[in-house]
């Protein structure tokens, strides 16, 4: 197994003068063929290391990349998180999600590629931790620190511009679930100087919020998740319910969903956008 690693990552490992790996899953100090099977780590990886060192990212990343850093994934191979691709691509580091398939993990162990599970971020604190974690894994801690510092600057700026009156919002994309306490969306809303009404619901992280409940809650604004999938969905049809359109006229804000599902240093930008959008809301509460 140890031989396999040396063979795969052989050239560069030898060139950097490091001894052969002790165990199959040992982490190389500066991995050269990094495979990511987790959409959120895809994006961080593209920000942290040059393309040449990326074996592949998931097919899911492209839409978000086009928005965040257009062209950053040009020429980077794409994977579908399948076990076979691990054998084929022979990575020397795999960034996986906690939900990656056991088969892939077993196979990765067989070819000697270390697998590191990357958590999903539920707060800005998580984003700092995960960005630094990946930075350390890929041997680019300084770049990770720079990204975290950039994010913290924006958050500190927002903290200084906190609006006098807390604005009440709900991230309501359709009838289904709204992000409540303990979600990244909740933290983003707080950073923007607003109050997430859904965080006061009895249910923990996400809860259901029907249109009637939405009306009764009378938020100052409703935030609507915008995916980059242009394809139609029922969800869109429902958040376009005429009563929502009339009752919250001029009070509906869209936000990019992937900056809320994936904790990235750019999630601070989402808080800045939200802050700016809330500043433009009509004065006073809803009219009815």
């Amino acid at each position: 197994m140890a031989m396999a690693v040396t063979l795969v990552a052989g050239v560069t490992v030898a060139a950097s003068g490091r001894p052969a790996q002790r165990v199959a899953a040992a982490l190389p100090a500066k991995p050269q063929r990094i495979m990511s099977t987790n959409m959120c780590s895809d994006l961080l990886l593209l920000m942290l290391v040059p393309k040449e060192r990326i074996a592949s990212v998931t097919y899911l990343a492209h839409d978000a990349v086009e928005v965040l850093m257009p062209g950053a994934d040009d020429g980077v191979p794409v994977n579908r998180g399948a076990a076979e691709e691990v054998v084929q691509q022979q990575p020397d580091l795999i960034l996986a999600s906690p939900w990656s398939t056991p088969v892939m993990r077993r196979l990765a162990a067989k070819v000697g590629a270390p697998v590191v599970e990357i958590d999903s971020a539920n707060s800005f604190a998580d984003i700092r931790r995960i960005t630094r974690q990946i930075g350390a894994l890929v041997g680019e801690p300084e770049r990770a620190e720079a990204l975290v510092a950039g994010m913290d600057r924006k958050l500190a700026q927002l903290e200084r511009q906190r609006p006098a009156r807390p604005i009440e919002v709900v991230a309501w994309s359709a009838g289904d679930f709204v992000p409540g306490a303990g979600t990244l969306t909740d933290d983003i809303i707080r950073a923007a100087g607003a109050v997430n009404l859904a965080a006061q619901l009895p249910d923990e992280s996400s809860s259901s919020f029907g249109i009637e409940e939405l009306l009764v809650a009378r938020p100052d604004s409703i935030m609507r998740g915008q995916t980059d999938y242009s394809e139609p969905s029922l969800q869109d049809a429902m958040s376009e319910h005429p009563v929502v359109r009339t009752a919250f006229k001029g009070r509906r804000i869209t936000y990019p969903v992937f900056l809320h599902t994936c904790g990235l240093p750019q999630s601070a930008d989402s808080a800045v956008q939200l802050h700016d959008a809330l500043a433009k809301l009509p004065e006073g509460g809803v009219a009815w």
Binding site: G175, D176, F177, D203, S207, S208, G210, I211, E212, E213, L215, V216, R218, Y229, E231, P232, S233, L234, Q235, A237, M238, H241, P242, V243, T246, A247, A287, W288
Partner: protein
Amino acid sequence: MVGKVALRALVSALLLACILLSLGTGRVWLDPAVLFGAIFEPKPSLPWLILSELRIPRTILGLLVGASLGLSGAVLQGLLRNPLAEPGLLGVSAGAALGAVIAIYFGLSATFALATPVLGIAGAMMAAALTLSIGRGGTLTMILAGAAVSGLMGAGLSLALNFAPNPSAAYEITIWLLGSLENRDWGQVLLVAPFILIGWLCLALTVRDIDALTLGEAQAESLGVNIARTRWLALAGTALAVGAATAVTGSVGFIGLIAPHLVRPFVGHQPSRVLLPSALFGAILLLFADVATRVIPTAGQEVRLGVLTSIVGAPFFFWLVLKLRRMSP
């Protein structure tokens, strides 16, 4: 047999009670006096928004859909002389769902609002025609044909799900298929109401002929019944009413099966006399089930309407099968 007047009074009272319950209940409890008062107070107000934009369209849709299911169930049971006939069992609901799903997920409904009911109706029509043409010859063949067509439409649904362009579509389709009247709006009511009303008209036109059909097809023809025309009317009526209804509510099963059986002990077994009471009872059952979905306490999602009708309807179906087994030699 209960007196006619008493029965009419009972049905009217039940229907009215269900309508009031449907207007009065929701995810949010509002005092009925406040709701009623909102009609006369300055608008827009919170209770008025909830009443006029959410609860009234929901109730009207419930009435239309329930009556469509009850009426088409009664007509199909009369036409096929088969107590198990029902839009769901004949594959009509599955066909309608397939059409609607294609319209929603491949962007047709976004560009052209009528696409959903039209494709729903087309799917229902196709499924009904298929079942009626291959299932002629008896109770068993008809049920088998219905199962086969349902299976085929289900396969089509799975295929649509497989190729749906939106990644969250699989989840949404699955939930949508469970059936619901939640968050429907006036636009949807107005969109499907004309189709449903034309469907009712077609179904009502079969009223004389299905009585003669109780004697058998040959006998009915000798009495001057144009069987092809009757069958076509029943098929078109079911497809229009159920297809359009399914296009906005998703699949709601068993109402069409249960409603005729519930009214038969009161009005007798003459098919034509079952139609109107069955339609009214279908509406009552559906509204009642829809109120139940709102009242049953759940942590997150509402209990879906189709799930509830199936939970109640399936045991009824068992009972019906057992009864038929006892009756048949």
